[in-house]
Subunit: 147 residues, 2 copies
């Protein structure tokens, strides 16, 4: 299987949102997903998000969505907002290639660290991140207000 | 006590970093704080962070640090990276004024939600956030790689 990672173009965003929805369903949270393609396009146009996509033949089967942020403790940070490999394409090393491209991009942007979040019951994801040498912190809770 | 909230200027950043260090010590994590004033100034100049400061007379006694991000589920999001009231100035309503200014700014920027994180043992912070009607999520872990 030939896997190719490339930077997403604006016209790929409808496929990216399809993958985000697929993961939201896996995370039992589709009802929490209210975003629209127009919001993605606006964020993309304003350079508020970057995306990479994984291609198998001509199909998009995985993606990452990330953006620059700032850690008051460490400095410039790249935040991995979403990281998806479509279910039927798992176990072929696609996630590893996407992850490696993300880390490479963080170094290129002179970031001091990268961060993301993982659901405490998502065992396959946790095993993958531990294999990458990521530090998992369990003593923070997330807070939010939705308007 | 007269409390005034205003947008931080570049020259306030050394006071902001002093407050961030004070909170890092409270969170038992001063050794985790490696950032420099130069990094703050660069992020400020590049508009990657916004700060508000709370003034009592001519002293900066509290601050927020926040930035625009993007939720793949909800759309445009304002992320509260740090939120500090200097210990000897707590209980005077300064945190409430800073929080209100942050929420107002999020609405002005047309954000769909705001997010932040809180340590699971930080009871005063948790009580404050619950009083604001924030939703606390306990089933996510944080992951990071530091370069």
């Amino acid at each position: 299987m030939e896997i190719r990672i490339r930077r997403a173009q604006r016209s790929d965003l409808s496929e990216v949102i399809r993958l985000v929805r697929e993961l939201a369903i896996y995370e039992k949270a589709e009802h929490e997903m209210w975003s629209t393609l127009e919001q993605y396009e606006l964020a993309f146009d304003e350079k508020r998000i970057s995306c990479d996509v994984a291609m198998v033949e001509n199909e998009i089967v995985g993606c990452t969505v990330y953006y620059d942020t700032f850690s008051t403790w460490k400095g410039k940070m790249l935040y991995l907002e979403d990281f998806i490999v479509s279910e039927s394409y798992r176990k072929y090393g696609i996630g590893q290639k996407l992850y490696d491209a993300f880390i490479e991009e963080a170094k290129k942007r002179d970031c001091k660290l990268v961060r993301w979040e993982v659901l405490d019951w998502n065992e396959p994801a946790l095993r993958f991140y531990e294999k990458q040498g990521a530090i998992i912190e369990k003593d923070w809770w997330k807070a939010k207000v939705v308007f």
